[in-house]
Symmetry: C2
Subunit: 242 residues, 2 copies
DNA sequence: CGCGGCCTTGAAGTGATTCAACTTGGGTGG
DNA sequence: CCACCCAAGTTGAATCACTTCAAGGCCGCG
């Protein structure tokens, strides 16, 4: 099990530095470090006693499903994101979380979250902060789905992921990054049909907005995508990591 | 100014009972009690130093706007809801909040929120809980906009509001309640055009799913609307009130 | 009386969905 | 080792839900 004192994520510089004391507290709170394969269900809708997790590496997504099977992806999760805060607060999660790639996650038993509030107010504040930030992401996604046209939606998705990955050091030379999403995932996140997603993406590629090969996406001109999508970026100041 | 010890909202029975001590703490934290007219901007996008509020009476909505003017309503706010938690956590709000009716709100200076975390862990937990609950509402709205057809969206909106108002004691005999929304608000919340919203609502009325007169909406059969919309209700256990 | 906000309705246009078929590539089992 | 299979991507065609444009009605208010 990886100790929080040796957390590779912290060393990316994307996160707010913490006192040694705080890190040790988080380390004590951490119960396990799990590795799960792609497709694993990290949070199951309706399941009781869900734990809180921090995504350490890999991608995941949070989704809701209607009784008749229609699915909406609410949010993509990247390293450093909390998983299951809502579920840990209320009794039962109304959503699910599934790993998109092989992931590794830190397990923070929900009961200890309560202790955190009692003894480490600054860390408790950070948890709330992360929850608020996640809500901002959902806000932006709702705006995308509600008010942007198909091409703008895809542009907004690509730019949003690009910016988040940039902060994590996961974008390489020439603005390219690994994108482990199928077109079905993209369609489900953007409220589009699979076919229309495919055709719209093909058009954006033809127009040179992005290119794709071998699971990697390249954005030759992120600014062009950004203005196409009218994307509203979150401030990228340092954020806490629990 | 209304003292928290005499809070009429608490007496509705919709909220988690608190110790006298906690109520006095909140009362001390409260800086003012404002009355604002319909249309007032409670949170202005991009404004610095926004405070945290609790909506005491009336309706409001939270929204985002694209640079070109398209608007998405993210969430409707009803009495007891926190206003501006996200804004209070990060520096600058990425969204706005506007009063739909005349409202009265309790002002909780953001600096004192930090004290709350230091001295009143249980209340701090409640704040986080309320933030998580709000995110659940946005999740549901995203699912509505992304994956439901127009008639389903309207049904989901009506049922969602109905259930929330029911808990607050704001639904009267025969399942009717005041709905201070124009069709433009509904269109902006559901990601539809005004014209299509109008036609779809007319159809639902013709089919007897709801009726409207004098600013009041009546749901003769909430269950029918609920199954039309496949609405995913939040648990309606007691929630905290700060 | 006239104006503006809100609701309503018809008609035309289009962006997105649905249906259907075919390609490609990696993985598996005979 | 090849045949087959299945998941994922692609493409064309028909249809439909929703948007846009346009016009008119109702009502409260200055």
């Amino acid at each position: 099990m990886i100790r929080c004192t040796e957390c590779a994520l912290r060393r990316t510089g994307a996160f707010k530095p913490l006192d040694e004391e705080d890190i040790l507290y988080i380390d004590a709170m951490k119960r396990a470090h799990l590795a799960l394969p792609a497709g694993a269900e990290i949070i199951v809708p309706g399941a009781e006693n869900t734990e809180l997790y921090t995504l350490y590496s890999g991608w995941a997504y949070r989704y809701k499903e209607l009784p008749d099977g229609r699915r909406q992806i609410l949010h993509f999760l990247l390293p450093g994101d909390l998983i299951g805060l809502q579920a840990a607060m209320s009794e039962v999660p109304l959503y699910g979380v599934i790993a998109l790639t092989p992931v590794s996650i830190c397990v923070l038993p929900r009961k200890r979250i309560w202790n955190l509030f009692g003894t480490m107010p600054e860390l408790a504040f950070d948890v709330t902060w992360l929850g608020a930030r996640e809500e901002s992401h959902v806000d932006e996604n709702l705006t995308t789905v509600g008010r942007r046209a198909a091409a703008e939606r895809i542009a907004a998705l690509l730019v949003g992921l690009y910016r988040r990955l940039l902060g994590l050091g996961l974008v390489s030379e020439g603005n390219s990054f690994a994108l482990p999403l199928t077109q079905q995932h993209i369609a489900d996140a953007l409220g589009l049909s699979l076919v229309h997603t495919n055709k719209t993406m093909a058009r954006l590629r033809r127009l040179g907005f992005y290119s794709q090969s071998d699971g990697m996406v390249t954005l030759p001109n992120p600014h062009a995508l950004e203005s196409l999508s009218q994307f509203d970026a979150l401030d990228d100041r340092l954020r806490p990591l629990i």
